[in-house]
């Protein structure tokens, strides 16, 4: 009964193969597909992105990537001019821009916001961001203007204070 034997062998092989396949074929693990991960994280809002940054080291590294924050800044606005990126990066990066300026601006103006304001909000944020960078420059060079022991100035201070919106 060679046939039976063969069939038994096949069956055994088949089962083995199935078992091997199960072992060989891993579950889908998102960390292996970083490009997909990035695409997903790109679409998150600020809070979720920050939460995502606490998941694991890989996610943390990705979440800190400035291009994600760039996306966040300009989500509701038509694509920015190409020259903008170099400027923003030089001034401190998109994450800083978002956290320091864009987010407070958007949250505070939310109550009076109109759709057309989105672009202007970003412009205003950029201006404030630039002023902030300029003030941060002041630490070394123009120390004559500062009293000893005084905390460094920040004209974005008014954005940091909690506001009853």
């Amino acid at each position: 009964m060679v046939q039976n034997h063969h069939r038994g062998c096949h069956h055994q092989d088949h089962q083995e193969i199935v078992r091997e396949n199960k072992e060989k074929r891993p579950k889908f693990f998102i960390n292996d597909h970083v490009d997909i991960l990035i695409e997903i994280l790109k679409r998150l809002d600020c809070r979720s992105l920050c939460v995502a940054a606490s998941v694991c080291r890989l996610w943390c590294t990705i979440a800190r990537n400035d291009s994600l924050w760039e996306n966040l800044c300009f989500r509701h606005v038509s694509p920015p001019p190409s020259s903008l990126r170099s400027v923003v990066l030089a001034l401190g990066g998109y994450k800083r821009l978002y956290m320091g300026c864009v987010r407070p601006v958007q949250s505070r103006l939310g109550r009076v916001r109109r759709a057309s304001w989105a672009r202007d909000e970003v412009q205003l944020s950029l201006s404030l961001f630039c002023v902030d960078y300029y003030e941060r420059l002041g630490g070394g060079s123009s120390s004559n203007g500062r009293l000893v022991g005084e905390s460094s100035p920040s004209s974005l201070m008014f954005l940091c204070k909690p506001v009853n919106v």
Binding site: E121, V131, Y133, F158
Partner: protein
Amino acid sequence: MKRNHREISGTTDYSCGSGSRADSSSIGNCIKEKLWEEDHDAGGMDELLAVLGYKVRSSDMADVAQKLEMLEMVMGIAQEDGISHLSSDTVHYNPSDLSGWVQSMLTELNGPPTPNLDPVLVNSDPTSSNPQHQKQNQSRVFNDDSEYDLRAIPGVAAYPPSNSEPDSESTRKRVKTSMSSSGSDGYGSDSFFPSPQENGIPGAVTEFSTRPVVLIDSQETGVRLVHTLMASAEAVQQDNLKLADALVKHIGLLAASQTGAMRKVATYFAEALARRIYRIFPQDSLDPSYTDILLMHFYETCPYLKFAHFTANQAILEAFATANRVHVIDFGLKQGMQWPALMQALALRPGGPPAFRLTGIGPPHPGNTDALQQVGWKLAQLAETIGIEFEFRGFVVNSLADMEAEMLEIRPLEVEVVAVNSVFELHRLLARPGWLDKVVSSIKAMKPKILTVVEQEANHNGPIFLDRFTEALHFYSSLFDSLEGSGVTPSSQDLAMSELYLGRQICNVVACEGMDRVERHEPLTQWRTRMETAGFSPVHLGSNAYKQANMLLALFAGGDGYRVEENNGCLTLGWHTRPLIATSAWRLGTTESGL
């Protein structure tokens, strides 16, 4: 009554018989108005009051008036204190005898008649100065509504909302009739027994009559505080320095009972008045780096300077729309806080950034620190970061009038487009005649495409000290109110420094004269006239600037209090209903063909 209307209609809108007041008050006013005009009814009964059914001898009018006023004061307070039933239940004996009636009311309200009250208030003995003084007091009362109407001071700090109408009504009409008394040492409401001088201060009467305890009601005290300030200023105006000094000391006491903005304003004004009286003039030539520090704190705590910068920048940006090389001349560079935002906007301009050249003008700093160069260096760093071609030059001059256009090396129009920017600098030039004209002709020689001017919206340059004082009181009250009420609670040091910055301005407006008084603010309308006669024509600031300004203010907590308004193409930023600073833009009226 018609005679009265015509006479006083020019000076005040507080016309006789304005309906909402109590009857006695309108009669009281009419009586005082009668005192104004030459008393044609010599002897006999006053004919106008006779029409109403009151028999009052004209010679008694002053007496009756004062008694009525006292009565009203007492009644007003009495209502608060819950003995209002007295005022309504009193039986009127022979109402046609007005004087006697008032006296009976007074005695009933005040208990046993105190001999002090009457003689003091009728302190208007027939001395030569008194009728005139009384008239002037009356005039102050008349002008009350238009100039001293404290309800016009927006916000809560200067004039807390009063619950009882009659109370506020009576307090406003409290006239210090015994101001001619010599500067006393018996001041202070810590004595319970009214000395003759003390009774001159309203409220001391009621303190004595209603309770044996000193009442300090802060609403009343607030109004009293302002009145005392005004009285002190008026005494200074009349060169009655002893009296002014005594009043200033009293201000300190009253201010202690206040909180917040009103207290600070009163303290600064009192100090400024004291300096004026004792001729201890503040040094204006303080270290400019110190004033720069104060300015920085002011910049950070409130939106006024940011508003100024952003709106001026918007105008400059629009003027530079197509230029390849631009040159900005800043009349007061200070820390250069205005320019990063402009440079960023130029860097992101569609079509690429122009070459940016900045000329900064500033005062000399002691100690050879080249402050202007340091600012220029910082700006150069920023320019390199964001990719703009940058050139900087600093000019140190004692005043703008020392500057000549040739010094600035203006390049021809085809090469470079020029903008001139002045934030709170032009008003200083009014201190000396001819300076402003010199600077204006320098500006014209620079052939700018646009001139941006930001100035305070206030009239602190009138010829009469008292007017300046009143205006300044209103202006700085609003300003301090906005610092307090904006909801942003900066660290106390920042707030204190900002207030100090403003306090120095107050000191200059009130205490200094002549060439030292540099804070000669003038309202927008006056600047407009000056600019237009000088040959400039206005450039409207446009909706972009308006939108940006509104957004900027919405970011500040208390954004509801700040108000951006458009005024014939200029933008003003104010606190509630009071505009405080104004931005305007100008261009040369003639064509720029080099003629």
